[in-house]
């Protein structure tokens, strides 16, 4: 399955939107935290896990999903939320802790819930697999051909929930796909020090389901692999497991000293920037021109500007609202 021209352009634009969103967030995050960095200060406090470099995973998979399909994400969720179509203003406002945010400021960056877009995420590693199974089960019980996709890092594949979920999904032939984003690290721990096999795709054999490894951080390759898995799931043939090699350009979280990372590694990674590579390809294919690229980037900046301005200008919740919403 090859992406159409529209799909390619959507992937390209969305990757730029994600990248710029994250770069901007990195800047905003340090506001109020200079000269001394304090994690609790500034307009965006708390932990911040950015996904710049991991855009191909988000767009390659999300190309195949609609609003009815469910996505669960991990602690590093922005790229997935954006590609899933989560309301950018409400999402940004949530990250700013504002009343207008997706969770009225209660959730924050690791806890983005968009019911309309069927997106959610969690700060607990490996926790998104089981709920995705539940969404898939609900679809199946309701006779819908909706699918669910759970994303997680390669570190999460060593959490017990990964195994339990794959077994249950395979057993019940649930329309669910587990996507592992291998960005080489779980915080400071390299994959070789956490994972007994080279690729988690090999683990699909333990459940009798298809497993595919997508090297090279390439959105088109992800698109192809995900297309097969999503199609299978929609047709009632059960789950698949994908592992996608991708790259983390920032630290684990903002403020990470990254002492564990070989010097120059990030520069090398940026030499394979998937956005630049797709840009070249689109240019060569005549799908994109310098002008249309500039226009697109300008539109992206405007969209970002709007989202960040909305977040910044929105009011904080009243303190006593902390007492609401424990129950509906």
């Amino acid at each position: 399955m090859q992406p159409s021209r529209d799909q390619l352009m959507w992937m390209y634009r969305t990757m730029i939107l994600i990248r710029r969103y994250e770069e901007r967030m990195a800047e905003v995050y340090f506001e109020g935290k200079t000269p001394r960095f304090d994690i609790g200060w500034g307009p965006v406090p708390g932990e911040m896990h950015l996904a710049a470099g991991q855009e191909p995973v988000a767009v390659g998979v999300m190309s195949h999903l609609g609003d009815h399909d469910t996505v669960t994400g991990p602690h590093r969720p922005h790229h997935l939320a954006i590609a899933k179509g989560v309301n950018l203003k409400a999402m940004t406002a949530e990250i700013f802790g504002k009343k207008t945010g997706l969770g009225q400021g209660k959730g924050g960056h690791m806890h983005l819930f968009d019911v309309a877009k069927k997106f959610s995420c969690s700060g607990l590693v490996g926790a998104g697999f089981p709920p995705a199974l539940g969404a898939a089960l609900a679809a199946k019980m309701q006779g819908k051909n909706w699918v669910a996709v759970a994303f997680a890092g390669e570190g999460a594949a060593n959490q017990g929930s990964f195994h339990e979920s794959l077994n249950l999904a395979a057993l019940w032939k649930l329309p669910v796909i587990l996507v592992i984003e291998d960005n080489s690290y779980g915080i400071s721990v390299p994959k070789a020090a956490s994972t007994a096999v080279p690729t988690n795709a090999d683990r699909a054999a333990a459940y009798g389901i298809p497993g595919a490894f997508v090297p090279n951080n390439d959105p088109v390759a992800v698109f192809e692999a995900a297309g097969i898995a999503v199609e299978r799931a929609r047709q009632g043939q059960g789950p698949s497991l994908l592992e996608i090699k991708t790259d983390r350009y920032f630290g684990h979280f903002q403020g990470d000293p990254e002492l564990y990372r070989p010097k120059g590694e990030v520069d090398t990674l940026k030499g394979h920037d998937p956005i630049a590579r797709l840009r070249t390809k689109l240019m060569e294919g005549g799908v994109l021109s310098e002008d249309s690229d500039a226009a697109l980037r300008k539109a992206v900046e405007a969209e970002l500007e709007e989202a960040y301005a909305f977040a910044r200008n929105s009011p904080y919740p009243e303190p006593t609202e902390a007492l609401k919403h424990v129950f509906v």
Binding site: T70, T72, G101, L102, G103, Q104, G105, K106, G107, G108, H111, F113, V115, K118, S120, S122, L124, A127, F129, P130, P131, A132, L133, G134, A135, A136, L137, A138, A139, M141, Q142, A148, G160, S161, E164, S165, N167, L168, L171, K324, H325, V326, F327, V328
Partner: protein
């Protein structure tokens, strides 16, 4: 109230049955809930009636299937999921307390999770340290879960109806020794007349199961029956005990407890859970904050794991004698 008397297990299965019949979104998942009918008969008959699509046996993968309940509920289903023994919560607590319990709050109320998580608790039949715990106060400590602990068939059915219809996660604890199983002793008072149709018992309303003047016994579950026995003994000694069956811990009916404490001036908590950092303390704090705590005692498991051997287990579980003794001790105290 009908005169048909049934066991608590039958009452629970009946409530689930009625709810499954009225709402196709209700379904059941858990280990051995299918043909087996639930190890403690909480789902007896449902598999035969609704089949494996709505009464689903699971692998021994609590994290996966309880987490799946959360995910299915977020999509509009109303799962009832069984954790066979509450003692096993440790393999899946993250899905329960960081997700099922918190997603509603973290989403600013936009995510509704109508899940009933039912589970067996309690000891008294020598099943040792990993199969005899109560632990309900631990779930009551963590915000976001309603916690139900019925003591008899009538309440069990009505509370189950309410739990299933609630749009929030409800932990539903049943004591194995109250279920009226053919193979485990049950107090006679646990089986009660139960109407055949549906009815609800509200969450957050404690029940004064015995009126009295001299002291207030605050309790729940199996301990209601043991406290009633103790009260009968105390009666003979001229002591009039009021007994409050809390029925739910979240919401907690503090008002009923405080009112009774104000009346009797003495509060005795009888709890099958570990003593420290749990229910008994919460009752003390509640009454003290209301300025109504004059005299306080508790009979609970003395901060040891539940031992296997019969004399040891009997020693650590509250029983009518230890309850009555504690009550008598309070009455003898000056002040």
């Amino acid at each position: 109230m009908s005169e048909r008397k049934i066991t608590m297990s039958k009452a629970i299965a009946e409530a689930i049955d009625l709810e499954m019949a009225r709402d196709p979104k209700v379904f059941v998942m858990g280990e051995d809930v299918g043909i087996y009918g639930g190890i403690f008969s909480s789902t007896t008959g449902l598999f035969a009636k609704y089949g494996g699509d709505r009464v689903k046996d699971t692998p021994i993968s609590e994290t996966a299937f309880i987490g799946a309940a959360t995910g299915a509920a977020a999509e509009g289903m109303r799962p009832i999921v069984e954790l066979m023994f509450v003692d096993f919560f440790g393999v899946c607590m993250d899905q329960i307390y960081n997700h099922l319990a918190k997603n509603t709050y973290m989403s600013g109320g936009s995510v509704k999770l109508p899940v009933v998580l039912m589970t067996a608790y309690g000891g008294g039949y020598n099943d040792a340290a990993q199969h005899s715990q109560s632990l309900y106060s631990l779930f009551a400590h963590v915000p976001g879960l309603k916690v139900v602990v019925p003591s008899n068939a009538y309440d069990a059915k009505g509370l189950m109806h309410t739990a299933i219809r609630d749009d929030n996660p409800v932990m539903y604890f049943f004591h194995k020794g109250l279920m009226g199983l053919g193979w485990m002793s049950s107090p006679a008072t646990a089986s009660t007349p139960v109407p055949e149709g549906d009815y609800t018992v509200p969450l957050g309303q404690a029940k004064v199961v015995r009126e009295g003047q001299d002291l207030t016994i605050v309790t729940l579950g199996w301990m209601v029956h043991r406290s009633l026995e103790a009260a009968a003994e105390l009666e003979k000694a001229g002591i009039s005990a009021e007994i409050i069956d809390l029925r739910t811990l979240v919401p907690l009916d503090r008002e009923t407890v405080i009112k009774s404490a104000q009346k009797t001036g003495r509060v005795l908590v009888v709890d099958e859970d570990y003593q420290s950092f749990g229910l008994s303390g919460e009752i003390a704090a509640t009454v003290a904050e209301a300025g109504a705590l004059k005299s306080f005692r508790r009979v609970a498991v003395p901060d040891v794991p539940i031992p296997y051997s019969r004399p040891l287990e009997q020693y650590v579980l509250p029983n009518p004698q230890t309850i009555a003794q504690a009550a008598q001790g309070m009455l003898e105290m000056v002040g």
